[in-house]
């Protein structure tokens, strides 16, 4: 079956089994390795991507579900000015350690800031609750998002 969708701003027509996990299609067929697999059950968020701007666990999504939708992975997001602001803030606050959760965290932050450009600490804790990080204890990530939201005034 042919699935049509937008992937990182490019129109795609992809012939594949519609029930394939989107995560596998992205990693194995499009070679987008920035999307990680941590649990395969939608709990850890390492596989998080944006579907029409919303944070989504790609390990739970069959390919058919993104038909006519827009998919953004870290490879697409890293080309944006919002990414650069978030990256700078993460560097300054120490928000990444082993890095396996980082692409998903960056996209979760983007998803949040798009809806709420001035989130409170509680808003951020809520928004990140689907993305597990075992290294940082989260506070440095939360501070980074607050810092980015201030510095990126007008971007979101």
């Amino acid at each position: 079956m042919k699935i049509k969708f937008t992937l990182n701003q490019k129109s795609i027509e992809h012939e594949a089994n519609p029930s394939s996990r989107l995560l596998d299609v992205l990693r194995d067929e499009f070679h987008l390795k920035g999307t990680k697999e941590g649990c395969g059950e939608g709990e850890c968020g390492a596989c998080a991507i944006l579907v029409d701007g919303h944070i989504t666990h790609s390990c739970l999504v069959p390919l058919a579900n993104v038909n006519n939708r827009s998919v953004t992975t870290i490879e697409g997001f890293r080309e944006t000015s919002q990414y650069r602001i978030l990256e700078e803030a993460m560097v300054e606050e120490g928000g990444s350690q082993c890095g396996i959760c980082s692409p998903g965290m960056m996209l979760a932050a983007q998803s949040l800031l798009t809806k709420n450009s001035h989130p409170t600490e509680e808003d951020i804790r809520d928004a990140l609750s689907g993305n597990l990080c075992r290294c940082t204890g989260y506070n440095m990530i939360i501070k980074a998002i607050i810092r980015a939201s201030k510095r990126g005034e007008g971007l979101w």
């Binding site: 850890c44 992975t73 350690q97 609750s129 204890g137």
Partner: protein
């Protein structure tokens, strides 16, 4: 040059944040094969495999293919590469099915029939494999002369490392007689040495490369050696590249965890002071010993934690059960003992009706005191100053006045603790023999070659920073790449809070030599090997002497609120004060402090893993709960400068220290909130309900 503590950007930030960093599962290799493990479904049984007719291109590799002994080389060589005639735990690997089509591999796995002859498994503490003991002073006399004797028992459960990147390994034939492995690992030379033994190859024909590692916390210390041996044997026979990545559930049921423990402490009290402790610790090693004897040692050595007690009788056992083997996990036996010691101290103070803070302070270790094993605390101990700081930033005394009464459901707990830095005793000098290498080429580019790995803790940044600061020249480039055993000497494993202090210390010395003998535009090579400080005396058999070259110290304060209806524990805020010598990089140190404390506190109240009749019950993140951003609260961390003479720029260890005090601090806070004594962690809502509703 700036003070070395001034933070610099973590060097691997750009590749990690952007998703460019390659972890083992991200490597694409032409003509790749995949491996999946067939595992035991029985806790103890003899078995026989009935192999099906294999489709074209599918292979089975098992114990019959081993060219050498069926042993994964580690501390106790009792782990098998593949089970051969008997299985000893559910999840024990029996064979690999290998092929290029993942669906075909699954089909074959499902069609393999394993005929089991079940035996009676052991799950209690009867099968004691190791017993250790040491004494200090004259405990017998102290107990005879005591006014009062208090005895309590403490229990801790399993804890899963829960690195977000599951275990994974790739092996491929580099040439006709050389095999290369890429793995999510902490210890490249552990993997290399295990594979050399398993295959009987010459050392130069096994190469281990470290990719980006997505968290480890001890979980990738010894376990990956087993995967490496299995895959290397397969490559030896099949001559194709093979990748094996565990799924989360497979990882949780089959990889090592923190040892569950029982600690019984008897305290002799005279004039409201502890004069002696008689402590017994028993840890569950699972089906095989592996590293358990060393974990037991570290637990026993922590028997007095941050305190000095004149008379001690410490005994410990490792018992084996037909369950998944336990192994290395940040803290390595110390978190279990330190939980017991700090709870015991608080409980004794309560029974004696004395101020708990004064009681703890009265027993604190001081410089020149004898350690639990009769070594000497040689360096200044600044715990009194650290406690003052912790009291001030947390408003502990005031809050305790308000919270410490029935029905407040609020509590604040404080733990005081230490952690020995580096390997126990003479481990560095007698077993590890760490080496580091610096090479300067004709362009005056300096290359750092060490075998320890960056698994998130920031070593790529800190070690480079140390070399940069020593050489102190702005006109040169310093290049430091992840470990490849073809290039790096054996600097030892990335464990035991040793990287900054030991490996960083060697690099600082090598860099100084390079600087002092610097010849522009000439190739230079400096090799530096570990030499033990002369003052260290250690008797491994008797567990006597200086167990560690140095100690890091900590104070954690945790504030909680317990929901009076659901008994859910809500963390309100966490404060920490640490002495880690001189800090190498403030921001990275704070990252370690926050992350370790999160794991330590979660060990105390949140993370529950049960194994029932050898079967792991909590086997994915849906039921094994680790903290989310919503569970965690604000933290505030201070480092008090106390430079260590033998560490690079005065640095000591940090990685494990930040974990060990979390559990007692949160458990003591919950005790205050519910006004009940706690002896077991994790303190789940179910346990709180039991304590409130069923105990007097």
């Amino acid at each position: 040059m700036k003070d070395i503590s001034t933070s610099i950007p973590k060097v691997d930030n750009p590749e990690k944040l952007s998703g460019r960093a390659l972890y083992v599962s991200d490597y694409e290799i032409p003509n790749l094969y995949y491996a999946k493990t067939l595992r035991s479904t029985q806790a103890k049984a003899f078995f026989h495999v009935i192999k099906p007719q294999l489709p074209q291109g599918i292979f089975i590799i098992d114990a019959s293919h081993l060219p050498q002994k069926n042993v994964v080389k580690m501390i106790a060589d009792d782990w098998k590469i593949f089970a051969d005639v008997e299985v000893n735990y559910i999840g024990e690997p029996i064979l690999l099915v290998i092929g290029q089509d993942k669906q075909k591999i699954e089909d074959v796995i499902h069609n393999i029939h394993v005929k089991y002859e079940p035996q009676t498994p052991i799950f209690d503490q009867s099968n004691i494999k190791t017993h250790k003991t040491f004494q200090k002073g004259n405990p017998q006399q102290a107990f005879q002369e005591a006014d009062l004797m208090i005895e309590e028992t403490f229990e801790t459960g399993y804890q899963e490392q829960a690195y977000i990147e599951p275990q994974g390994m790739i092996a491929y034939p580099e040439t006709a007689d050389k095999i290369t492995l890429i793995g999510s690992i902490q210890c490249p030379y552990y993997v290399k040495n295990a594979v050399v033994e398993a295959l009987g190859y010459d050392e130069k024909n096994i190469r281990v490369i470290q990719p980006a590692v997505g968290g480890a916390f001890g979980g990738k210390e010894e376990f990956p050696s087993m995967m490496a041996c299995q895959l290397a044997v397969a490559v030896h026979h099949l001559h194709v590249p093979i990748k094996m990545i565990y799924e989360r559930e497979e990882d949780m049921i089959s990889t090592t965890k923190r040892h569950p423990s029982h600690v019984t402490i008897q305290a002799a009290i005279k004039n409201k002071k502890i004069t002696a402790l008689k402590t017994h610790v028993a840890i569950n090693g699972g089906a095989y010993l592996g590293l358990s004897n060393v974990v037991l040692s570290r637990a026993m050595l922590a028997a007095t934690s941050a305190y000095t007690i004149e008379n001690l009788d410490v005994t410990g056992d490792v018992y084996l059960t037909n369950s998944v083997p336990t192994g290395a996990f940040r803290g390595f036996g110390a978190p279990q003992m330190i939980f017991a010691v700090d709870m015991m101290m608080a409980h004794i103070a309560k029974k004696l009706k004395v101020n708990s803070l004064s009681f703890h302070r009265a027993h604190l270790a001081k410089q020149h005191d004898l350690t639990s094993t009769g070594g000497i605390f040689r360096d200044p101990i600044i715990m009194p100053e650290m406690i003052e700081k912790a009291l001030e930033i947390s408003d502990y005394i005031n809050k305790r006045k308000i919270y410490d009464q029935p029905t407040s459901y609020k509590g604040i707990g404080m733990s005081l603790f230490l952690h020995g830095c580096g390997f126990t005793g003479s481990g560095e000098a007698e077993h590890i023999h760490a080496k580091v290498k610096l090479v300067k080429d004709e362009h005056d580019d300096v290359y750092i070659y060490v075998a320890t790995v960056d698994m998130g803790q920031g070593q790529l940044t800190t070690l480079k920073k140390i070399v940069e600061h020593v050489i102190d020249r702005e006109d040169i480039r310093i290049i430091y790449l992840p470990a490849d055993t073809d290039d790096v000497p054996d600097s030892g494993p990335t464990v035991a809070s040793r990287t900054t202090m030991i490996v960083g210390g060697l690099l600082a010395r090598a860099a100084l030599k390079l600087k002092e003998t610097w010849k522009t535009h000439e190739r230079m090579e400096i090799m530096e090997s570990y030499v033990q400080p002369e003052y260290i005396r250690w008797n491994e058999e008797k567990l006597q002497g200086d167990a560690y070259p140095a100690y890091s110290w900590g104070v954690n304060v945790v504030e909680v609120e317990v929901n009076p209806i659901t008994y859910q524990v809500d963390l309100k805020q966490l404060w920490s004060v640490y002495d880690i010598g001189h800090v190498i990089d403030e921001r990275l140190a704070r990252g370690q402090a926050d992350g370790g404390l999160t794991q330590g506190v979660a060990f105390g109240y949140l993370e529950k893993m049960e194994i029932d009749q050898g079967r792991v019950i909590h086997k994915n993140f849906t039921d094994y709960i680790i903290p989310t951003a919503k569970d965690m609260a604000k933290t505030q961390t201070f480092f008090i400068d106390n430079p260590y003479a033998f560490g690079p720029y005065g640095a000591k260890g940090l990685g494990e220290l930040s974990l060990v005090g979390g559990a007692p601090a949160v458990a003591l806070a919950i005790e205050m909130a519910i006004q009940k004594s706690i002896h077991r962690i994790p303190v789940t809502p179910e346990m709180i309900m039991e304590l409130i509703e069923h105990e007097d």
